[in-house]
Structure formats: structure tokens, C-alpha cells
Amino acid sequence: MSEQTREYPVGESPELPAPNHQPGAVKWVMENLFSSIPNGIVTILGLAFLYMVIPPFIQWAFIDSVVLGAESRQECNAINPDGACWAFIYRRWDQFVYGFYPADERWRVNISFILVAIIVAIALVERLRAIKGIIWVALALVVACIILIVGFFGLERVPTNKFGGFMLTLIIGLTGIFASLPIGIVLALSRLSTLPIFSIFATIFIEFIRGVPLITLLFIASTLLSYFLPPGTNFDLLVRVLIMVTLFSAAYLAEVIRGGLAAIPRGQYEAADALGLSYWKSMRLVILPQALKISIPGIVSSFIGLFKDTTLVLIIGLLDPLGIGQAAIADVKWIALSNELYVFIAIFFFIFCFSMSRYSLYLERKLHTGH
């Protein structure tokens, strides 16, 4: 009987093409959206919800909105009372971007931004050969700070309390990200060190920083710290904030990286030892490249968190976009335009955070070596 049912002689079954798995659109809809009655109900409810939300938003944000030709909220209302008053953002654009940086000097911000953007882009695309990339970006950031602050060649010296807006967000965010990665790596290695001094110090540091809200640390930076420092030291507030944000992020990163290190099989350490690599060389060449690769999703989510947390600086009086925005909607001319403000800021943050998340996926794919 088995001979009758055999399609091909033993050992001569030919290679056949896989069955075609490309159903038409209707079939796809039936299989994925209406495969059962409950599924169909959920699909319809979902569509109804989207219909209720999206067209009105588009109507508000695009069709009825006012961008040009209005100098105040009243003029916006006069043109179209139902739409978004983007004229508010348009008129205040410079402040959102540069804060209170002197208008004539804003080209310095632009140059710094372009410089940092180019270096970061090179570092990211050329592949994050961690150490080299970080050194280059750090250099770029230092040069950018010099351009921004120091008055050279007859340029005006700009104090950091004039910094604000997206420029401030990017300064805090980028510095935090690139400074906390090496510190986080060192903390993670110290915590795993067999020398008790290192592991105890790292553990205390990490647990303390993680156990305290960032906002508290920022308050310490802005007020308490001046009590501890010798009287008369004038330590720039922005620098203090940068240090706190960096340490905060480093503590979280250290734990993420420690997780990555724990996932590396012991055999990797042993193979590196057996080849005669010293501790630092085996870390740098063998262990960290693998541990950091595993930790990419966690590291990037830490970075995204850090980037969004930069908005907390408004509480200690630094004017990030939220701070600028809140001041702006207190202005009689643009009073209470909070919808426009928050939608605008949300879009800004979304663009940056979403890019980071896509970059992390790209990096994971790029570093995948089939193991």
C-alpha cells in the first residue's frame, strides 16, 4: 500500500518550490482582521476610534490652522477660531530654538550644532567603535561649548543662563548620553570586580543614585551643592546639572551593561585568558564588544529616558522648551495656547526618540554575526 501512495521513488524526491504564500488583499483582511466574530468586532471598534480621532486632528492641525499673518491669539481666532494657532510657534520659533541666546550671536549656535551633528553622524554611521566614537564626539562637544560660551576674537562672552530651548535640551541630552556611556561601563566593570574596594564603591554609588529621583539630584545640584563647596566658588549651574544628569544616567547604564556582561559565557573569559590577553585587553577586545551588543536595547532605552528627563531642568529654573513654552503661554498675546505648545514639543521629542530607537535596531542588525 505504501508503494501505491509514494509519489516518487525512494531517495529521488525532487526539490519543489515552496507553496505560494501570497494571498490577495481580501484574503489577508479576512485572515487577519475578521478571522472570527470577536476579532471582527474589535476591528470595527478600532476603526471607529481612529475615525473619531484622526480626521478632527487633521482638521485642527492642518486644514483650519493658522501659521502666517497673525500676531496674537486674537488675530488667529479672527482668521479661523476652530484651528490650531501655529502662528504662536512661528513667532516664537527663535526662542524655542535658542532660548535667550543673544540674537546677533545665534550663528555660533548654528555652527556648533552643525559641527556636533556632523561628528555624531560620522561616529554613528562609521559604526560605534565605542571608544573612538566617544572620544570624537566628546571633542566636538567641547569645541561646541567653547564656541557657545567663550568670547574670543572679540566675540561676546555668553553666560550659560542665556541658554535655553531645544539648544539646551540637545546640550544636556547629548552630553549626558556620550559622557554616561564610558562612566557606565567603568561602573559595571567595577561592580563585577573581584577587588572589594571597587565593587563596594560601585554598588553604593549605583544604589544611591538609582534610589533617588532625578529631580532631587537636580535640586541638590542647584541649591545644596553650594553649601558643600568652599564659599566663593562659582560653579556654573549648567555644568552642575550636566554632571548630575550624567551620573544619573551612568548608574542606570551600569546596571544594563552588567546584565550584558553576565550574559557572556564564562568560556569567552577563559579563552581570552588562555590566549594571554590582559584584563583590559580581554575586556576591550572580547567581552565588552559582545556585552554592549547584547545591551543595545537597554542602553538605548536608557538614553531615550535620559533625553526626555532633560525637561525636568525647568523645575530648577533652566529654560528648556517646556520652560520657554510655559512662559510663552503666560504672555497675554498668546495666552493659554497649551494644545499647540504641547503638540509641538511632543513632536520634537518624538522625532529624536524615534530616531534613536530606529538607530538601535539598525545597529543590532548590523552587528549580528549569526550566533
Binding site: 559565557p265 568560556g267 579563552a271 588562555a274 590566549l275 590577553l277 577586545l285 551588543k293 549569526g370
Partner: protein
Amino acid sequence: MSEEKNAIEIKKMHKWYGDFHVLRDIDLTVKKGEIIVVCGPSGSGKSTLIRCINRLEEHQQGDIIVDGIELTNDVKKIDEVRREVGMCFQHFNLFPHLTILENCTLAPIWVRGTPKVEAEEIAMNFLEKVKIPEQAAKYPGQLSGGQQQRVAIARSLCMMPRIMLFDEPTSALDPEMIKEVLDVMTDLAKDGMTMIVVTHEMGFAKQVADRVIFMDVGQIIEENTPHEFFDNPQNERTKLFLSQILH
């Protein structure tokens, strides 16, 4: 001068894991160019013994002298010994993030300071010797187990070691891949390398070894030429072990 001929000398060596006495009173001298096969039931301490030779494990009593260098806590001496002693592991332990060629050139470049071009030339030579030069640009994850183990051997050889340690090199391999690895090891033995091999491949022991060592509960129970060891075992435990593995 007679001491010069000894590659490894182990004298009255003891090791404990916590309170557990894993290696007891080990005495072993390996001459240059000698091939030693270590066998014994699992948990008998054979892997631990060879891991003490390159200080992946620390011994607590007795002396280990490798190539004239005594192993102590001195990191410099440990590094010196590790440069001269290559090791192959049961699970290959290739570096998955590096290509086959990079795996082979990493240590020569970073430990010996060999220029990259030269290191790559040496690596290609050894990859040819283990018969997989065509895989040089691939990553370990793309190779079969047998190929990975051969790369691991080539990686060790690139450091030009005087002694090679093998820790159950074929135990994790599919049966049809064992032979290709054993062939490479046999070639290496013919070239005069000093080798200590922990293995259950008794065919290899009979054919290649100068001496076979049988270990049980942390001690060397019997030590003999392969011929005597297999045909005329002295100790009861050796007889029992051989009857169990030689079906």
C-alpha cells in the same frame, strides 16, 4: 641540562574548591615533544588538572613549573606561561563577534605585538594547516562544530605555543566531525608539539599518545604506555573504567 628537556613539571600539587579536595598529590613530568592523554570518569579532576597548567585554575599547594617558569600569583609569570601554552576547549570558545581570521590574529597582534599583515599571513598558514582557509572571512556562527574546533586549534597555534592543552576537544562534536579534529591533532603531534589531551577517544590514545594517564577522585591512579595501559591495566579501577568505555 636534563631539566631543559621537561616541558612541564608538577610536584606534589593539591587543589581545593572550597572544602572539596579536587586534586590530590599530583606528580607529573612531561618531556618536550611528549603526547600525554589523560582519561578517567567525569568529575575525576582531569580538566581541572590541565586548567591548572595555564592557571585558569589556581593550585593551593605544591609546584607547577611550565617551560622553566614557576606558576605563582605573579601576573607577569602567568601571562608569560599563557603566551607559551595554547588551549582548546570542549565548547571551542571562539569569539563570535570576530571573523575566523580576526579570531586567529587577535592575540598575536595584541599580546605579541605582531604587525597586522604578518599576523594575517601566519593565521592563513595555520588555517590552511587545519584545512579551512576558505572560511577565513566568515563568523564562527556560520561554521559547523568540527570546523569551529579546527579554527580554535589554529587560533592557539597562531601564538606559536610550545605546549598545547586540549580539554575534551571532541566531546561536543557530532560523531561524523570527530575524525577531522583528531586528524588535525595527529598532524600536530607528528610535528613534535608537546601535548596534553583530556579525551575519551581511546583510538586516538592508542595511536598517538606516548603515555596515558588514568585519573579518579582527584588522583593519578595509573600511568603507562598506551600499549601496556590498554592491554595490561594494573589497577582495578582502571580495569573497570576500560571495561565501561570499550564496550
